[in-house]
Symmetry: C2
Amino acid sequence: VDFIVIMAGGGGTRLWPLSRRSRPKQFLSLLPGGETLLGATVRRATRVVPIERTLVVTAASQVDEVRRCVPSLPAENIVVEPEARNTAACIGLACVEVRRRDAGAVIGVLPSDQFVGDDDAFARAVELALRSAADGPITTIGIRPTAPETGFGYIQAAGSGAVRGVQRFVEKPDAATAAGYLASGDYLWNAGMFFFRASVMIDAMHAHLAPLGEILDAIAADSTAVSRYAAAPRISIDYGVIEKVPPSSLRMVPGDFAWNDVGSWAALPEVRPHDEAGNTVLGDALAVDARDNVLVGDGRLVTAVGVSGLVIVATGNSVLVLPRERAQDVRKIVDALEKSGRTGDL
Amino acid sequence: VDFIVIMAGGGGTRLWPLSRRSRPKQFLSLLPGGETLLGATVRRATRVVPIERTLVVTAASQVDEVRRCVPSLPAENIVVEPEARNTAACIGLACVEVRRRDAGAVIGVLPSDQFVGDDDAFARAVELALRSAADGPITTIGIRPTAPETGFGYIQAAGSGAVRGVQRFVEKPDAATAAGYLASGDYLWNAGMFFFRASVMIDAMHAHLAPLGEILDAIAADSTAVSRYAAAPRISIDYGVIEKVPPSSLRMVPGDFAWNDVGSWAALPEVRPHDEAGNTVLGDALAVDARDNVLVGDGRLVTAVGVSGLVIVATGNSVLVLPRERAQDVRKIVDALEKSGRTGDL
């Protein structure tokens, strides 16, 4: 039977100062109605599988956040990673857990911090991908690009149709290459969604990432061996496994839905409505003669007069102001705080 | 003998959200070393008269703020206005209080919320003005303009020298007129500093603002009559009295010192040092690739990347962002909050 595993571990400061290492963006109420990205991901998952077969993998320190975001999730469906070891190990641990419940399980793995604009189209793609995976191939959903994005990896499809072959995975391209990808129609965004039989994935880990395979076998045989997880290789599922699998054993389902990785504050206008002046507001804000701003106040009143194209984020401790087109540069503040030893602000 | 009376009543939101109705700008630690404008005003006053002859007039609700800003001020030198009735009544009340201490007193009245850049030059001007007032004329200090300011009233001088006659007071001019004033050299800024014998001022009030004169007489005769203060005309000392006194009874001392009424956040760079990138910081701030900003954090970390010429002010409840050249437009936020009934934010 089908399971969905949602990866909700890891930290993040790309939406600093609202997101913190201890409270990454999947736990923030960014969506209309105060929904979190994690909550929305679980909601979408349960269109395809029941909540009893929806699992969330997270860190011990974030279990309470998961419960808060998804109160309906059964406690035993929260899988706790002993420590963050990147996605290959995380998915391996989930495979062990799911296989214990159902040796023949087919698993869909989804990131917890992405925005999806069309739940129906998403559910259709997930169902197709699960069906493809049930037949053996590791299957991914590729997002049809809507812009020449240089911030994502791409997957080159083979053939056409609702389930395609995979020619290759390619790294984040430069702008010219990205424009070519967009024009060709054969390159889709790699959104980190993977579908596979649990046994197929564990076999692939043994074949391509043997140290992880061994650790997972040990944990499967004796759950107290979970302490060995700390020795798992820190590598992503893409680099560590998927890109080493022969393309003939891979499939891709093109996803035709609005999708966004909410990688910076500049993405907020894509996941929330804006007012007539183009201001996107999260929280309590007052804008006068101000256009196209992103105004975020975590319990604070954010006011702006006569400015345009700015991101303004205010939390209890910190305020960030920067132009929308430089939203990635929040990293410069995070780096500066880190260098000056102010990690308490992160 | 000489007294200095400092007017520290009234509220203000021109430096909102740091200044509030309950905490106007004279009580804010805007100056280097955390000094307040009121504290600096008292410090300058005591270069000319001892602290025993320095009085502060304020509202009952602000007595604690005054004590906090000027711990050295004797308690009996805080004169409490029963309610705010503008400067004519305030100065009248101060005259009654000072005359009770010394019937022949000469009084210098100073606003509490102005910046002065040269304490020596200021003290010299105050001493000259007190000496002129001791001879009878109501005397003012006019600030020699350094820019064609349209936000101030002007005083047209008669003659030259260190103590001059007064031709007339003129309203806030338009830009062309202000440029003419600046070029002529005869027009100085009216900074609201007045020097007079207490008896001369009370007589002038009787002559030109009789209802106030009567109320002051009643209070002088019986201090319990202070309840009548609530019926005092609400008018400024300029409109109500000074501008009605024959110019022949007025004098002006030109003040040659940096001066600023700190009328908006745009003035902060004139009263505090800035860094090499032109950013003026009050509190805790971190600016990356950011120039010529005013960054104010009241216990909050204010961060900015890639912006220039902005005012960013963060307090516990509210954040304000606007361009420096629109710093006066904080009024638009204040108005909008008022209209929506959010006076708690003011």
